[in-house]
Amino acid sequence: MKMKNKIITAVVLIMALFVLLLALERILPPSSMLFVVLKKGAIYALVAVSMNLLNGFTGLFSLGQAGFMLIGAYTYAILTIPMEARGMVYQYFDGGIVPLALPVILAIPLAGLVTAIFAYLIGLPVLRLKSDYLAIATLGFAEIIRAILQWDKLGPITNGSNLLKLYPVFTSVIFPFAVTGVCIAIIVLLINSSYGRAFKAIREDETAAEAMGINLAHHKQLSFTISSFFAGIGGALLAMYQTTVQASAFRATMTYEILLIVVIGGIGSVTGSCISSFLFIACSEWWLRFLDNTIFIGNFQVPLLGPGFRKVVFSVIVMIIVLFYSRGIMGTKELSLEGLYQFLRKRSEKKKKGDVPA
C-alpha cells in the first residue's frame, strides 16, 4: 500500500511540474532567461547524471564526456537534416551522402546507440587502465573524436569543420524535460538494480567486489557504455538547443564543467547532480550576469566589474566548494519526499523542545 502511495505522489508531482512548466510558458515572454536556464539545465542534468553514473557510482574517473556528447550531437544532426536542406548545409560537399532524414523520435535513441557503440569499442582497451590514467586516456579519445569529425575526407558525412544546421529543434521547454526525465528515471532504476549494487561495490573496493563474484571487466564496460549512451542523448538535446552544432565547441573545458557540476552536486547523488546543474547554469547564464556589466552607484564606478568577471567569481566559488565542501550539496544522499518530511518533522519536534531557536 505504501509503495502504491509513493508512486501516486510521484506521478502527481511530475504532472504538477509539467503543468507548471506549461503555465510558465503561457505567462512569461519566450525570451525570458528562465527558459534558457530550464532548457540548458535539463540537458546538463542528463549529462551530469550520466557522468555521475560512471564517476560517482562505478568509481571510474572518465573525462570523455564531451567526446561522447559530440558523437551524439553529430549523429542526431546528420540523421535529421531534411533532404531539401542538405544542399545548403553540405554546400562544399554536394549535399552529402546520407540518403535519408529520420524523424526526431527515432534519431534521438539512435544518437545514444551510436555513441554507445563507439564507447564500447573505446572501452575495450581503455577500461583496463586505472584512475588518472583512465582519465587522461578518455580525455585523449575525446580529442581524437573531435579531430576525426573535423576531418575533410569525412566531409560528405560530417560536413568537415563546418557547421551542421537546419535540423529539427525544440522550442518548448517541455521536450528536454520529458527526455531528460525518462533517461534519468532509467538511470535511477539501473542504479537501484543488482547491476547498480555491483557498480557501487566496484567503486568501494575492486578486489573485494571481484572476490564476491562480480565480473569487473563486464560491469565496467556496461557502466561505461550506458553512461555514454545517455551522454550521446544529452549531446543530441544540446544540438537541438543550440540549433547549430560544430565539433570545435566540444573541448575538454566542456567535460571539466560537467565534472564540476557533478562535484558540486555531490559525487554519487543523482538528485544532487540535477540540482547543481540547474544552479550552475542559472549562475553562469543568469544570476551572475550583472558582474559582467560596469555599474555606477552615483558617480562611483564599482571596481573590478567587467566582461568575464562573472566567470572569475564563479570559478572562485567552485574552488571553495572543491576545497572546503568536498561532499558537495548532497554528498551521496538523495533528495526524496520522505527524507524531506522526516527532516521537517525532526526540526519541528526539536523546536517544540526549544533546541532550535526559531
Binding site: F61, S131, A137, E143, I267, V312, S315, V318
Partner: protein
C-alpha cells in the same frame, strides 16, 4: 636525402617545440612522481607566464621583465600548491585531481577576464627572434637555441637531483611518501620545491614557446600542457630523461604530420600515442615497475 631536404623545416620546428614540451613535461613528471597527481593546472601556469611577459615587457625593459616573469611564475606555482593541493593531502586522489581541474578553470577564467579573451602579441625578444638559415631552411634563432637550452637545464636538474640534499629528499619522497616522512624529511618543503622547479622550467619554456608562436590566448596552455603530460607518460612518469626524450619525439612527429598535410590529426596523434603506450607498456620507456597503473 630528398625527404630530408623537404622535411627539414618541420624537423627543426619539431626539435624546437619538443624542447619546449620537455621543459613543461618535467614539471608534470616531478609532481606526478611525488604526489601521484596530474597537475592539470601546469599548462595554465605556462600560459600565465606568457601573459605576464606580455604585460610586464610593455612597461619594463627586457632584462628586468624576464627574471620578474620567472619569479612571478614560480610564486604562482608555489601558491597553487599551497592553496589548492596542500589542504587535500589526506583526501582521496580523485578530489585532488578535481581540485587541479578547478584551478585550471580558475586560471583560464582569470586570464580571460584580464585580457577580455583577446589574443595578445608576445613581445619580440632581440636576437632569439632573429632569422637564421640552417642547411637552406630559414628559421628563428630560438629554434636552434631551445634544444641547447633545454638540455642544459635538464643536465643541471639531474645534477641537482643526484647530488644535493634536497634532490635526495625528492628521490626518497617519490619512492615512498610515508616512510620518508618517518625518516624526518619535511614533506611540505620538498613538495613546494618540486612545484618551484616545475614552474621555473615552465616559465622558461613559455618564453621560448611564445617567441616562436607569437600570440598568447587564455587557452594557449591546455594543449601544450596535455602534450607534455603525454610526453611524461611516454618516457615513464617520474623519469626526467624519459620525459625529455618523449617530448622531443612528440614534437618531431607532430610537425612531420603537419608537414605531410594532416594538420587535423597532429593533436590526435599525440593522444593515440598515449593510448598505445598506456596499453602496451604502461610504465613508459624508462619508468620503474610500479604498483597500480593498470
Amino acid at each position: 636525402m630528398g625527404f630530408f631536404q623537404t622535411n627539414l623545416p618541420y624537423i627543426l620546428a619539431g626539435i624546437s617545440v619538443g624542447g619546449q614540451y620537455a621543459l613543461i613535461a618535467i614539471g608534470y613528471t616531478l609532481v606526478y612522481g611525488i604526489l601521484r597527481l596530474i597537475n592539470f593546472a601546469h599548462g595554465d601556469i605556462f600560459m600565465t607566464a606568457g601573459f605576464m611577459m606580455v604585460y610586464l615587457s610593455a612597461s619594463l625593459p627586457l632584462w628586468l621583465s624576464i627574471p620578474l616573469v620567472i619569479l612571478l611564475t614560480v610564486l604562482l606555482g608555489f601558491l597553487v600548491e599551497r592553496i589548492a593541493y596542500k589542504p587535500l593531502r589526506k583526501a582521496p586522489r580523485m578530489s585532488i585531481m578535481i581540485s587541479a581541474i578547478g584551478v585550471s578553470y580558475l586560471i583560464q577564467n582569470c586570464a580571460w577576464y584580464v585580457t577580455s579573451g583577446l589574443a595578445k602579441q608576445f613581445p619580440v625578444i632581440p636576437w632569439i627572434s632573429d632569422s637564421v638559415t640552417v642547411f637552406s631552411a630559414t628559421t628563428k634563432v630560438v629554434t636552434i637555441l631551445t634544444p641547447v637550452f633545454t638540455l642544459g637545464l635538464v643536465a643541471a636538474l639531474v645534477l641537482l637531483i643526484r647530488h644535493t640534499k634536497i634532490g635526495m629528499a625528492m628521490r626518497a619522497v617519490s619512492r615512498d611518501f610515508e616512510t620518508s616522512q618517518l625518516m624526518g624529511i619535511k614533506i611540505n618543503s620538498v613538495i613546494s620545491t618540486t612545484f618551484i622547479i616545475g614552474s621555473f622550467l615552465a616559465a622558461v619554456g613559455s618564453i621560448l614557446y611564445f617567441t616562436n608562436y607569437t600570440t598568447v590566448t587564455p587557452t594557449a596552455g591546455s594543449m601544450p600542457g596535455l602534450k607534455a603530460f603525454v610526453a611524461a607518460v611516454f618516457g615513464g612518469i617520474g623519469s626526467i630523461p624519459g620525459a625529455v626524450l618523449g617530448a622531443f619525439l612528440i614534437g618531431i612527429c607532430e610537425n612531420i604530420i603537419k608537414g605531410l598535410g594532416w594538420t587535423t590529426f597532429s593533436d590526435a596523434f599525440t593522444f593515440a600515442l598515449l593510448i598505445v603506450i598506456l596499453i602496451a607498456r604502461p610504465t613508459g620507456l624508462f619508468g620503474e615497475k610500479s604498483m597500480d597503473k593498470v
